[in-house]
């Protein structure tokens, strides 16, 4: 019985996961029409100013937004973890984030910042100007879109870390005379440093592989996964797209391993409710 289950699992994973990965690797090492393995695709991509520029820009963009998202999530996480008014509602609102895909978040951001969105309407109503027109299609707009799905995710992760703090440690610090500020900097921050860093990395990884939002509204910045999509589906450049995909995967794996180093154990899987948008 056990053997049967193992066999089915192995077959599923092998066919559904192993085989595709192998094929992508193989494709990245092939040029159409030419026999034999070659690293030309990689050389192509790595030496291209356009692609590497986009990769670097994407990495930078994701890191910055992830950092901002993590910071933004801190008050939210604290609110949830300490059970302040409406904490349950807040937690639920942050959790349902996983039910919305990247495209939906794109739609949400357009509704927020687009020409007929909340911001534009508010501005027109309050100030009568239209300076924020088209903001959603800028890098800033995209960033806010990314923040939209990053901060709830980060908030949930950090809230869990806060909940795992020993309340008696905090009480001990208070009894020893620490003020709120000292408590925050000398006791809380050091204890939360690692989980917060791990959250940042998890969120950054999630953003790197994110796709839908960028597809919808990224105009001023080339997001790497979108480029891969274009190369593969649009231009049929299988080899190059495969090489780019491998590059992206390596980057994600590296970020993930760093995150695991920082916060090993339980939250490894909790962390990643839906990362591909």
């Amino acid at each position: 019985m056990r053997i049967a289950i193992l066999a089915i699992l192995a077959a599923t994973l092998g066919l559904g996961l192993g085989l595709p990965v192998v094929f992508v690797l193989a494709a990245s090492l092939h040029i159409d029409g030419q026999p034999g393995l070659t690293l030309e695709n990689y050389a192509d991509v790595l030496s291209s100013g356009y692609f590497m520029g986009a990769f670097g820009a994407t990495l930078l963009f994701c890191s910055v937004t992830a950092a901002a998202g993590t910071l933004l999530a801190l008050p939210c996480a604290w609110w949830i973890a300490r059970g302040r008014t409406g904490a349950r509602l807040l937690r639920v609102l942050c959790q349902v984030n996983f039910a919305f895909s990247g495209v939906v978040y794109g739609m949400l951001v357009v509704t927020l910042l687009g020409n007929a969105g909340v911001l534009a309407l508010a501005e027109a109503w309050l100030l009568g100007t239209d300076a924020t027109r088209g903001y959603v299609y800028t890098t800033g707009g995209l960033a806010i879109g990314y923040l939209g799905f990053q901060s709830p995710r980060a908030a949930i992760l950090i809230a869990q870390a806060v909940e795992r703090l020993d309340p008696q440690v905090l009480a001990a610090a208070r009894v020893l005379g620490a003020t709120s500020r000292q408590l925050a900097f000398l006791v809380l921050l050091p204890q939360l440093a690692r989980p917060v860093a791990a959250t940042f990395l998890a969120v950054a990884t999630m953003s790197m592989a994110s796709f839908g939002t960028a597809l919808l509204i990224a105009r001023s910045i080339e997001i790497f996964p979108v480029l891969i999509f274009r190369e593969f589906i649009g231009f049929g450049e299988i080899g190059r797209a495969a090489a780019m995909g491998v590059l992206l995967a390596v980057c994600c794996i590296a970020l993930e391993m760093a995150a695991r180093r920082l916060a090993p154990g339980a939250d490894a899987s909790v962390a990643r409710m839906e990362r591909n948008r």
């Binding site: 994973l13 559904g16 595709p20 302040r84 349902v96 895909s101 939906v104 007929a116 891969i228 839906e274």
Partner: protein
């Protein structure tokens, strides 16, 4: 003295207000546009002066445009949920029970789909099974593999909390054979986590928008792709209406999941020698 106190009270109030605002921004980023989307979907016109009027026309158009996609997505989401759960349950048992090299090989393999970008999987599936391109099998494969870790996780957590070994020993000592132990002891305790797994996968697949783009075709278009097309080609109102359709499809599942996750499971652990202190196993 009084001035000092007043100033202190004022700064306290301000900082508390600030904290509240900051804390609720992530939620606001979701709720505010959602509200406007909901209003806009039912409006007659929607331009830079705001949505006006009330009509169901946009919803009707959205349904005509994306109805088939909706039906397909619902169907494939249900199928993926069923398959993923069927795989996850025995896999969870293996992971929790086996201490051997099998488990240590299985565990990283099963969490790989989470690390790997979905588009890599999609590309790989298309390259590995070119004959299946344009069909729905590849979509199903992609969804099941992508969501397997998320189906696995509620099961594994529940099984670990359950202390299977003691449960089994207790059952054996009371005279139950393997079939009786499975039916009466194990199954009742995994029903809820399995349901959570299934609904989680259902939601994830409905909401999916990365592999879907690679693997979609004319005949089989997941809803995420339809939504994107609505945005690109059609009026904002219709795109909003399409989004509302998606939310309508998602809501029952999301509400169900939240209900299940927040109601404490009846003493999920056999390890308690002293009465549990209120807090249920933190499943989220």
């Amino acid at each position: 003295m009084i001035l000092h106190r007043a100033r202190q009270v004022a700064t306290d109030a301000v900082s508390r207000c600030l904290e509240a605002v900051l804390a609720w921004i992530p939620a606001l980023l979701l709720v505010a546009p959602l509200l406007l989307l909901a209003i806009g979907a039912f409006s007659e016109t929607w331009d830079s002066r705001g949505p006006r009027g009330a009509t169901l026309a946009s919803i009707e158009m959205a349904w005509r445009f994306a109805g088939r996609s909706a039906a397909f997505s619902l169907w494939i989401a249900a199928l993926s949920a069923a398959m993923a759960t069927l795989l996850a349950v025995p896999a969870a048992f293996l992971l929790v029970r086996e201490a051997s090299w099998v488990a240590s090989l299985l565990r990283p393999a099963l969490s790989l789909p989470v690390v790997l970008p979905n588009l890599l999987l999609a590309m790989g599936l298309m390259l590995a099974f070119p004959a299946l391109q344009g069909g729905w099998l590849l979509l199903l494969a992609a969804y099941v593999i992508q969501c397997l870790p998320y189906a696995l996780w509620p099961m594994v957590t529940a099984l670990m909390l359950l202390d299977l070994q003691t449960l089994e020993s207790a059952g054996r000592v009371l005279g139950a054979d393997a079939r009786q132990r499975f039916l009466w002891l194990v199954l009742p305790n995994i029903a809820r986590p399995a349901a959570v797994s299934a609904v989680t996968v259902f939601i994830l697949v409905l909401a999916e928008s990365s592999s879907s783009f690679f693997l979609a075709s004319g005949a089989y278009q997941p809803f995420g792709v339809a939504l994107y097309n609505a945005f690109q080609d059609l009026d904002l109102r219709i795109a909003a209406a399409t989004t509302m359709l998606l939310l309508g499809m998602l809501s029952p599942a999301v509400v169900l999941l939240e209900l299940w996750l927040s109601t404490p499971r009846r003493a999920a652990s056999t390890r308690a020698a002293t009465p549990m202190r209120g807090a249920a196993a933190r499943v989220s």
